[in-house]
Symmetry: D2
Subunit: 324 residues, 4 copies
């Protein structure tokens, strides 16, 4: 029997990406779609790409109460930060539904398991509430956590210089997403220590390395739809080399189909529309610096793909189902 799944905030970009992925998933059935801003609209009108492809069960609800009156096996919340926590509470309270929250509302909370699939797989499997990681943190944490755990890099002085496509800003039309202001433009924002993804990065790196981290993080906006590339600068511990880092990653991710050290610097197009996170490291000649370039699709491994991977893990399915 298929898992019954509901989606809160289904009309946003991560909601649409999730619908796209779920349509290929043989073990789930969308039982409703919900949208704070477009209650009752036909989903196919909002996203014509789905025209003729949605099952009858994937109807848009007319209000949140209609969602709260149901007891699906799983609920994904693609609602904005702040709106998500109150909306998922009734599901957490019904004693049956398990929740995967794509907002940042629970990422620093003890109530939830942090859903970085490859790092917390065992705890996710048992989680009632999974806090799906941010897109930037996923790209930064996956390469760094094994290195810190293995003591290969210093925990101080790490710099993550990240670049993201525009879909990370969501579906709301603003000057920051206006074609004329984004196209033929490249910009930094929330420089250094100002982005809301930084606390979750620091918390997870701290947990991996045994001490609070002074990580710096500068996000940038790239004139493209999707993709994140993070260029990470760290210091190798004495006598450690880039070869040690590669060996560490190969071991850490041996059983993980979506995370991989590759033999050359990955580009965002290499992983577009896939659930992979790829990285490659370089040690400049005569230095003890380790420069890691990490790439993923912010809408997939950085959001909806990892959310579905977490659902697979939570319900004992093949982790790669509908994602390979």
């Amino acid at each position: 029997m298929k898992l019954k799944v509901g989606i809160l905030g289904a009309t946003g970009l991560t909601g649409a990406e999730l619908v796209r992925l779920l349509l290929r998933h043989p073990q789930t059935e969308i039982v409703w779609l919900s949208s704070e801003t477009q209650y009752g609209s036909a989903y196919e009108k909002i996203y014509p790409a789905f025209s003729g492809r949605l099952p009858a069960s994937a109807r848009m609800l007319t209000n949140m109460q209609a969602a709260h009156g149901t007891v699906p096996d799983a609920v994904f919340s693609c609602l904005p930060h702040g709106a998500s926590a109150p909306a998922v509470k009734p599901f957490l309270a019904n004693g049956k539904t398990r929740v995967i929250d794509l907002s940042s509302d629970f990422r620093l909370s003890d109530e939830a398991v942090y859903g970085l699939s490859e790092i917390h797989r065992e705890r996710i499997a048992k989680a009632k509430l999974t806090a799906n990681p941010g897109c930037y943190p996923t790209s930064v944490l996956l390469p760094l956590i094994p290195l810190l755990k293995a003591g290969l890099i210093r925990k101080e002085g790490i710099i993550a210089d990240s670049k993201s496509g525009v879909s990370g800003a969501g579906r709301k039309a603003t000057e920051g997403t206006h074609f004329v202001f984004v196209n033929e433009n490249f910009s930094a924002y929330k420089v250094g220590d100002q982005h809301r993804h930084l606390p979750e990065m620091r918390a997870q790196l701290g947990a991996a390395g045994g001490a609070p981290s002074d990580l710096l993080f500068t996000p940038h906006l790239v004139p493209m739809e999707r993709g994140i590339l993070s260029t990470i600068y760290a210091d190798l511990m004495p006598l450690k080399t880039v070869a040690d880092a590669e060996a560490c990653w190969n071991k850490a991710y041996a059983g993980s189909p979506f995370v991989r050290a590759v033999s050359d610097f990955p580009q965002t197009a290499d992983v577009a529309r896939s659930n992979e996170c790829r990285f490659h490291a370089y040690q400049p000649t005569g230095t003890s610096k380790l420069i890691v370039v990490s790439a993923l699709d912010n809408m997939v491994k950085g959001a909806s793909g990892q959310a579905l991977q977490n659902l697979n893990i939570m319900f004992g399915l093949d982790e790669a189902l509908a994602l390979a």
Copy 2:
């Protein structure tokens, strides 16, 4: 002494383009900027490209009354359709100020001269109110009017299939201007007879050809910032050829620095940021069809550049001043 110039709706995209052009103009002085949506903001904050480049006189007013209390030599209105007519009326009434209106409010009205510079130059020179043409009409009318006047093409059955960059949609953030929905997408809209630029095209073609026109017009949205390319299908009159069309254009535009038949199909990048409209025609073998491809920059010859050209004409300056 320099002409004193005010700009209504200065914070929109055509307003900013006009400011950019006026900064190069040696015979004008911006005396105020006005904005319905951002009264009192620093213009440099809205458009950082102008940081450090605006003269002190180019201050943003805090309300429309402040504008109406002045008597500049010229006012450009870059306000939206509907808002422009009431805003320019007080200037028209003061007996001194001459107005160039970039909205569609006066394009079909006897109150104004239609500001297609090369076609109505003499009347524009004397105009108190010039209705600056739409971007699409400029690209379609400039090649067609001389052909119709010369009787080289049939006035029936003309089809204009036009393609425009996104800046034509203005500065307002909507789903239609959201990077994620525009990039990697191409679409038609207001197909056939539904676009608000069609009446002014039909009126002008009618005036040139002696009869109402059944022109069809389909605009499309191109994932780029600026540029319009119109592909126009017409029928040559018996015994007329593409060579006749070229000779006609060469004669009609002999003294016009910005309008020209060129020797190959123009591309939008050829005329980007210039005030030129270029076109080239082809007659498919064995047919009496004339296919004209016309290109211009929708923000310059399609809007603010032509507006400045009209100011030059209205005040007896070199038509190409600040535009070549």
Copy 3:
């Protein structure tokens, strides 16, 4: 047992798209990849997106002889026009292999069945050699053929104004594919009657309408990777309306999962990465014109997707296998 499939010209853009689609196909096995320009290279080096995803059988051959020494069930040729015919001849001669040729080498030839899947399904099913249609012709023919067959539109005076993404120009680096010359640019090329796709369009329309066609066709280049949108102008026969056209399409494509008249003008993003061709028509008020807007992904329904659809048809598989 799986069908053994070889790909000639596998390193071009249509080759890569075909590999992407075949990786999802449960009834085929790639037995070799071949490339005139990169014999012996590792396919994953050329297209890192496939890194770790190709089965061992999908090895690049070191020369054409190695391909000709095998007898696969099917060979796809993604070779350029002119190079394809000689390369597929040995397979046609071996008495077993069936060939799907994506070049234009056989599209006007009696040797092959024209592979417009929905129109020639029965003949494709028995074909030994299928000539896969061009991308532009697919977008133009699918809406027009049923209308001509049903006598709803005049066969004279049809104009197809088409716009394509850059992938249609292939993988070869030229000025015409250089980012700096393509981005922020829109252009027409091979205007009116000069494009090599026109003869196959005229041949197929002629076959559908009973008379040679005087179709005009103007292709344009859009600054995006993939997608074709064709805006088609035709004349309705007396008393016929847009409603008749819609009814005609609904009937003609009732059993076809990938071709559909939709309720609003399709955009290229609606069908990106899908095998669908969607269209919608409009009849301008007071006219007998029919304006059809047709959209497809030039790399999928316009090339590799339709090629795979044809393989499914030729081997009696579900037509939509690996394509839905």
Copy 4:
């Protein structure tokens, strides 16, 4: 009397940008254009944007000998690295012509003055041969040199993470400039210490700070035509703050119209098509890190604009002539 100017390598992207700028320059006259790859072509055919805008004097030569037979006041070389040095030698030998070389051939040589205009203005004024800086170095050196000279930042541990539009790769068509591989893609290349611009950066920083530098530099490719944004991480010296850096820049660049610390992080679009380099710094709370974001147009201040600025300086003209 106007300066007679020749351009070697005029058909490349920097050559075309230089032609564009020179057309506005009242004190120069292009006396010839030269191109290794397209000798004798009409420049207007290669760059249709210039159609009808070039003076008769700006003819393309038919061979290098024709250039070497002339004695212009100034020669710009836009030739590739390696080809430039031998081509400019005859001009340097004629005793009259002064040369501005945009290649890297002389940037580390005692024969030439390094043409970072604001830093070496006095020496450039007297130079017979100016080595125009690389685009990346200009964006990194302008903010860093005053800080190093003033002892505000540590000379060790500086990291420059730079991002450039595609025009930096030049006009040659390669896979790296193919629209399909650049669009919707972001990538790092020549990571850490591998880019050929690094030696000139290290040399200039060394000269400013009194010691060899261990600068790390990672360039990235952005899917846009033009613009460079460099995100620079440095360590403030004890007790120094971001306010000291700003004061230092204001003083250092007080008389420089094109270089400026601005009040917010600059974006590449802010300086597109201008000769400006803008930067802004931030000190993350509780740290002694200084993060500088620097923006310029790689084709203007990063290449042809700075070259023209250097010509103005060399010939005693207003530094900003044709550039403001």
